[in-house]
């Protein structure tokens, strides 16, 4: 058994027992103890690098299969619609999509309708595209369209004519001189739209203003906070959806399982699931302790009164 897991379990379990006994004696647990406890639990899990296995659920698997089964050379949009605050959750999704699409020989059109998404897009281009796919050629295998202000207004324009909004790519190079843009006039020429985000505009706006309007298959990944709001669009309006770190971890697990060349890649989402699991156990324990304490005190009051 993993030593880190045993040490974490002893520390966390011991602490929870102490809090349980305190609450049974009727003493309040300060909110700072709760925060500190969650912090220590996560720190231990990160320090000992606890890992748990993941299996892709249908909503993730169906998106994986979509990219997997598209014929090589298909045109895929990957839009970075997030900021650094969301990055730990959703950047692993963006990296996995880019990896998978390039490995299958698809052409990627990187967009961003969030100003902050553009700099995070550079991280993916540097860490994944340039390092892991040195043979990928800019303008033939992938293109960076950069950021455009205008929120859903941008989508409203590029669904009919990309050149109206983007005279050039992120470097100002005319789109007509980029080989992979020659037969692309609007988003309707794309085979799959992938939006990664968690705010507005984001996945929902891509569904409303691009996917539904142009009848283009749309999928994506969202920060956990906004994921429940996107489930109603699956499966008819969204091909598939990666929800928070769990969705990203499932995609990483599936990618490694199906493509052995990625066996040694960094898996930040999978690495995050260990601390996630531990933290959730602690929070659930706190909810149980709180309820036991509440019902006990209520019964005591009823007996006294």
């Amino acid at each position: 058994m993993n030593v880190g897991f045993v040490v974490s379990a002893i520390v966390v379990g011991g602490g929870l027992l102490w809090i349980f006994i305190r609450s049974l004696r009727g003493k309040d647990v300060d909110r700072r103890i709760v925060f500190g406890f969650v912090g220590i639990t996560v720190a231990l899990a990160v320090l000992f690098q606890l890992k748990f296995g993941e299996v892709a659920t249908p909503i993730v698997k169906i998106l994986f299969e979509k990219i997997e089964t598209l014929p090589p050379g298909s045109k895929i949009v990957i839009s970075f619609d997030f900021d650094p605050a969301m990055a730990p959750e959703v950047l692993p999704m963006a990296n996995s999509f880019a990896r998978h699409a390039l490995a299958k020989g698809h052409r990627i059109y990187f967009f961003s309708i969030w100003a902050t998404g553009q700099s995070l897009l550079q991280v993916t281009l540097h860490d994944i595209v340039e390092k892991e796919f040195p043979d990928a050629v800019y303008g033939i295998d992938y293109v960076n369209m950069g950021y455009k202000a205008g929120n859903e207004g941008v989508l409203n324009v590029i669904i009919t004519d990309i050149r109206k909004m983007y005279p050039g790519d992120v470097n100002g190079t005319s789109l007509d001189s980029i080989p992979m843009m020659k037969d692309v006039h609007s988003l309707k020429d794309m085979d799959l739209l992938l939006s990664i985000g968690g705010g507005k505009p984001g996945v929902k706006e891509w569904v409303l203003f691009a996917g539904d309007r142009g009848n283009i298959p749309t999928g994506g990944g969202a920060a956990a906070v906004s994921t429940p709001l996107l489930y109603p669009y699956y499966p008819k309006q969204l091909v598939g959806l990666l929800g928070g770190t769990k969705g990203a971890a499932e995609y990483e697990a599936e990618l490694i399982k199906r493509h052995p060349r990625f066996a040694n890649i960094k898996t930040p989402a999978l690495d995050m699931m260990g601390p996630q699991t531990m933290a959730h156990v602690v929070i659930i324990s706190f909810i149980i302790i709180g309820n036991v304490s509440y019902f006990r005190s209520r019964r005591k009051q009823a007996n006294n009164g």
């Binding site: 950069g146 005279p167 409303l208 601390p275 933290a279 959730h280």
Partner: protein, 235 residues
């Protein structure tokens, strides 16, 4: 790691700890980090907006001289691009108290355009299409009782689970709507459906809460990994 990078990583670690210090209580360190974050974000968005919209879209269509100055290819002169420039300048009149009333015109234009753009899309995709998504067969892929029992499974892809999912969606939507129907007293069978609606809502809020917790913990993991790996170098 050179001195400059070391300083930047230490600064980032200091700001991270300053933000988390709010969990202990409000304090000047937290307020400093918060104001810095908001200011830097606003400045970053403004710079990106200027270079992508003004330099990227307006200048190549309005001024050959400015296009040459900013080293962007001049497209062709187009007078339509002058209109948003004028509206943008008028919008800035908010900064001049005596002329601030003029800024209401572009503001009205922005609100009107946004409403006009959004209304048909939301009506089509969020209203009609969402209703369409609720019209689902309660017995999907039904090929007889024999097939059902031969494929009876709790696996996520089995026919039984598909039937169960569709029934839950149908009953859930119906009972959820009944809970919000206040023209009839919630008694008898109607009351039972209403109470089931509350349970459906509670489960939904619970799922949302679970996801929110996951999101917050992910951010904490990201920050702790940064502190241990990039700053303290112990991972």
């Amino acid at each position: 790691m050179d001195i400059r990078q070391g300083f930047l990583v230490t600064l980032a670690a200091f700001l991270t700890l300053s933000i988390y210090s709010f969990l202990y209580g409000d304090n000047p360190l937290y307020r400093f980090a918060e104001h810095l974050f908001v200011g830097v974000s606003a400045a970053y968005w403004m710079c990106q907006g200027f270079w992508s919209t003004i330099v990227g879209n307006v200048i190549p269509r309005t001024s050959e001289t400015l296009a040459a100055y900013f080293q962007v290819p001049f497209k062709e002169y187009s007078w339509q691009y002058i209109v948003p420039v004028i509206l943008g300048i008028i919008l800035l009149m908010r900064l001049v108290p005596k002329l601030s009333w003029i800024s209401r015109w572009p503001l009205a234009f922005i609100i009107g355009t946004t409403a006009g753009l959004n209304l048909p899309r939301y009506l089509q995709s969020d209203f009609i299409q969402q209703m369409n998504n609720t019209f689902i067969p309660l017995l999907p892929d039904w090929q007889g009782i024999g097939y059902f029992f031969s494929s009876f499974s709790f696996s996520m892809e089995g026919q039984f689970v598909q039937i169960l999912t569709n029934v839950v969606i149908f009953v859930g939507v119906l009972c959820g709507l009944i809970y919000f129907f206040f023209s009839k007293e919630h008694k008898g069978a109607f009351g039972v459906a209403s109470r089931l609606g509350i349970w459906i809502l509670m489960v939904t809020f619970g799922a949302s809460f679970g996801y929110t917790v996951m999101g917050r913990i992910s951010l904490l993991v990201g920050r702790i990994t940064f502190l241990f790996h990039d700053w303290l170098n112990i991972l």
